[in-house]
């Protein structure tokens, strides 16, 4: 085009020469007639269809030039945006993996979990009895399949040392219901689940590879489980089984066989069902309610029991859901904050270039052209920042997965793949459009302003920076409040007196193989001998055993009553946790003894069993009375009456958050079992004692493993992992947010002050005191900050309500937290204002008034 037009000019000039003009004159005349070459080119381009594309290329080149010439601005903006996008993408990929990604089962959206519901205790999710499971399976029409599953800890003896693992018993059709076919062999049939059927087992892909090196010929071979040979009938593909309740990794599966014995155990089954394609969740719930209602009238055991239906995906997600959603909300705020900051940065850059833009307007750039140019600049910035952000998302996800508390489900499904990357890119594009539009509109109007006022001499109205400052303060406040509440909650949780002292205590589980220790006497003898050996070990201060250590999840619970009181209905009797402990347990864990003594170890069968009860249980049954010496009826082993020998302090058996429940302890040697938790208090570093503990166990019973070996301090720390995770993440977000707010405010305010230098100079020259000027500037900034604080407080209170269930010991509306973060944010605003304000009054008024810049 250029060549063409120049050629035109030359021809024209040549023509004039032919007509008799001097060559110079001819050239000048031709140029005059031709008009502005560049403007002509513009017009010509306009006429052509490829115009927008050509503009885009020009704008991109121009934008790249601007970014290159302002490296600090570019680095700051790119990093800010990348931080926002990176953090948002990382959190989003975790949320997507855990909450959104469909479960790896056919018809996963139709899978539900069925629970019994205990109305008097308003316990919504109780495990199911065998009879009820069978009745539901046979009568419910809303489902086209229903299976039961229950964890089964077993000792495997295959090759070398015995290994203790927790598999699961499943009713036939379990894998078919999930839509997962065995990779090799077959699934259990109803023949496998018939009483007296041959022992069979199905292996998980992971266990098969780990233990048999992926040898396909193991199908049909025998595996020794608890000393009995089981035939391997199938191997499952590498699909994670549903994990909820206390279902663990499940390296192998056994058929669940309903027997008269386990019918009498009460409630212990987890039940999964699949809705018929045409059935809704509501219909299933209604039908289950009706069936449970009928059954509650049929059998005394079902009195006060109903049923609930929960989608499987929701069940697996569990409590993690709230905290992940809160984190997603928090990271969205952070992203908004980053977007605001980039817009602020863009704006300050545009303001510095206001004269250039005004010039462009003057020589003919239209408003829409300027808008496009500014927007292209943002788009380029957004593309670079977004790309950097997405690149940092991958290590971010890995870091998050490392930090995730151990009980978060579906961690395997967290990864950066197409849907996640698409969503993250979409977020980046939207965010770019957001700050690009704000920056372009504001930038254009500041160009118009510069054009009209011909520079910065006049006291100018604000150009949009104020709103951005208020937004920054509001977002920063909301994030800080969330972090503050979480931190206070975490501190409160840590301060909870768990009722025992964890320092220096090692715990380990001992499971005796059933074939060698079948009788109670042999089990009792083993544990007595084990404790004798352990207590003799150097460094051991005290040792004991208990049926289930604290912080070990749910344990058995039952109802109790005072045999001297008139019988209360079973549904209204207090329900207490039951633990079987050896006499030294309370001393070993440092549990306070408030009355009486502990078990008499010579009590081995004759006379009433002894019981130690917790303080809260004493208060429940015998307020203001001494319970020692009284009798207690406990619904266990068909009902026993025990004599209370002592009262001990309350212990948090679940975790710090769950308030301690009333508990009764019975003698571990009076009620022997093949499985106990060994608790050992050792001075110094408790881990050092572990090898000698293993040796002691193996010396008594060759090959006997200790498993779940850990320390109580570690368990305490793990029980706080979810809260720690949320606290760390929200805290980090809040710190970044406050830093961004500070940077943003300094940026906007510096530009403001720079804009008003002449005004300030005039004021100083006329005798204004510098303190007065700082005061004026401060007042203006604080006005914006206060607007931000009010808006932020409103937003923060709304958001904090959603995290109510995550909080412990502090309410979402906690005034102390709110006032503190508001004060911090105002302080940041003041400091961020003072820096440029002091800088402004330091300059000599003469320099300002004389100089143009």
């Amino acid at each position: 085009m250029d060549a063409e037009m120049r050629y035109h000019l030359e021809c024209e000039a040549a023509e004039y020469v032919r007509q008799g003009s001097a060559p110079d004159e001819a050239r000048r005349r031709a140029a005059r007639e031709f008009g502005g070459l560049e403007a002509l080119k513009e017009d010509a381009r306009d006429a052509r269809g490829g115009r927008p594309l050509e503009d885009l290329v020009l704008d991109l080149r121009y934008a790249a030039r601007v970014l290159r010439h302002n490296p600090w601005f570019t680095i700051a903006a790119v990093l800010t945006f990348a931080l926002g996008i990176g953090a948002a993408s990382a959190i989003f990929s975790v949320v997507y993996g855990v909450l959104v990604r469909p479960l790896p089962y056919a018809h996963a959206d139709r899978l539900v979990v069925l629970w019994e519901r205990h109305l008097p205790r308003s316990k919504d999710q109780n495990v199911v009895s065998v009879d009820n499971f069978e009745a539901w399976r046979d009568s419910a029409r809303a489902f086209d399949g229903m299976v039961a599953v229950v964890p089964r800890p077993v000792t495997l003896i295959e090759g070398g040392a015995p290994e203790r693992v927790t598999g699961a018993e499943i009713s036939p059709g379990y894998f078919d219901l999930l839509g997962v076919a065995p990779a090799r062999g077959r699934e259990f049939t109803s023949a496998d689940a018939a009483p007296g059927a041959a022992d069979v087992v199905i292996l998980s892909d992971g266990y098969w590879r780990r233990r048999f090196g992926g040898d396909p010929s193991v199908v049909g071979r025998a595996l020794s489980v608890g000393g009995r040979p089981h035939t391997i009938v199938g191997i499952m593909p590498n699909v994670e089984p549903p994990r909820f309740g206390w279902l663990g990794e499940q390296p192998l599966w056994f058929p669940f066989v309903a027997t008269n014995e386990n019918r009498a155990w009460g409630r212990f089954l987890l039940v999964i069902a699949r809705l018929r394609p045409e059935a809704t969740l509501g219909q299933a719930r209604a039908e289950m309610l009706a069936i449970a209602d009928r059954r509650s009238r049929e059998a005394a055991a079902n009195e006060g029991w109903s049923a609930t239906v929960t989608p499987l995906a929701r069940q697996i997600t569990g409590d993690v859901r709230t905290s992940l959603i809160v984190l997603l909300g928090a990271v969205s705020l952070l992203l908004l904050m980053a977007v605001t900051n980039v817009a602020t940065l863009m704006l300050s850059l545009t303001r510095r270039r206001a004269r250039e833009l005004a010039m462009r307007r003057a020589i003919g750039a239209t408003d829409s052209r300027l808008f496009r140019q500014l927007f292209t600049q943002s788009a380029l910035l957004g593309a670079i920042g977004g790309a950097v952000g997405l690149l940092t998302a991958a290590p971010g996800v890995r870091l998050l997965v490392m930090l995730l508390p151990p009980d978060v489900p579906r961690v395997d499904s967290i990864r950066l793949d197409t849907p996640v990357l698409l969503a993250a890119s979409g977020i980046a594009v939207l965010a770019t459009i957001a700050f690009g539009t704000v920056a372009a509109i504001r930038g254009r109007s500041s160009a118009a302003l510069a054009a009209s006022s011909q520079g910065e001499g006049r006291i100018s109205p604000r150009t949009g920076g104020g709103t951005l400052v208020a937004v920054e303060i509001a977002l920063g406040l909301a994030l800080s409040l969330m972090a503050m509440l979480m931190a206070r909650s975490f501190i409160a949780l840590r301060a909870v007196d768990l009722g025992f002292s964890s320092e220096g205590v090692v715990v380990a589980r001992v499971g005796l193989p059933g074939d060698r220790y079948r009788s109670g006497a042999s089990q009792r003898a083993f544990f007595t001998a084990l404790l004798e050996r352990v207590r003799a070990l150097p460094g051991v201060e005290s040792a004991s055993v208990i049926s289930a250590r604290p912080l070990g999840g749910l344990g058995p619970a039952t109802s109790v009553s005072d045999p001297r009181e008139p019988a209360v209905p079973a549904s209204q009797a207090p329900v207490v946790d039951v633990r079987f402990a050896e006499a030294a347990y309370f001393r070993t864990l440092g549990i306070r003894s408030s009355r009486g003594t502990t078990f008499d170890e010579r009590d081995d069968g004759d006379g009433p069993p002894q019981a130690v009860i917790s303080e809260s249980m004493a208060r429940t049954l015998w307020p203001d009375q001494d319970p020692v010496g009284r009798e207690l009826h406990i619904v266990i082993n068909g009902g026993i009456t025990a004599t209370i020998v002592g009262v001990v302090g309350d212990v948090h058996l679940m975790d710090a958050r769950t308030s301690s429940r009333p508990a009764v302890y019975l003698s571990a040697s009076r009620f022997p079992s093949e499985q106990r938790d060994l608790v050992v208090r050792a001075g110094g570093t408790p881990e050092a004692i572990v090898p000698s503990l293993r040796a002691a166990a193996a010396a008594l019973s060759p090959g006997l493993p200790l498993y779940q070996v850990t320390t109580l301090p570690h368990l305490v720390s793990t029980s706080l992992a979810a809260d720690r995770f949320a606290t760390i993440l929200l805290g980090a977000f809040a710190l970044v947010a406050v830093a961004l707010a500070a940077v943003g405010i300094v940026g906007v305010f510096s530009a403001d002050v720079a804009h008003r230098r002449k005004e300030i100079g005039v004021r100083l020259a006329l005798g204004a005191r510098s303190s007065g000027i700082v005061f004026i500037l401060l007042r203006q900034s604080l006005a914006r900050a206060v607007v931000g604080v009010i808006a932020g407080a409103a937003m923060a209170l709304l958001l904090a309500r959603s995290m109510g269930s995550m909080l412990f010991g502090v309410r979402a509306t906690d005034p102390i937290s709110l006032v503190t973060v508001a004060a911090v944010l105002l302080g940041v605003a003041v400091c961020a204002t003072l820096v440029p304000a002091i800088h402004a009054i330091r300059q000599s008024p003469l320099t300002v008034l004389r100089g143009d810049s």
């Binding site: 085009m1 060549a3 063409e4 037009m5 050629y7 035109h8 021809c11 024209e12 023509e15 007639e33 031709f34 008009g35 403007a39 002509l40 017009d43 010509a44 381009r45 306009d46 006429a47 052509r48 269809g49 490829g50």
Partner: protein, 110 residues
Amino acid sequence: MPVSKADLLQGTLDLLILKTLALGPLHGWAVSKRIQQMSKDILTVNQGSLYPALYRLEDRGWIAGAEGESAEGRRIKLYKLTAAGWRQLADELDTWKSFSAGINRVIKAV
């Protein structure tokens, strides 16, 4: 050099360019010169109108630019009519004839 006339009647420039190029391929300057000559200096085409028009016509596919050589051996862009351009020229001629006939009748009636 004739004095610049009032703007060409809206839409007639396209017709003039097409007609000019119907006589053979020309480069931009030659197009404007040819129009000027053929109209006996009554019509002059401003460069500011010429090039946007050329690009517009090219964009619509009525004319096509091709590389050519000037008398001095320089590479220049020559425009020529395309098949669609010939059809368009015929259309525009018809339109112009009926249009001018209409105008003539009005003028003569007064």
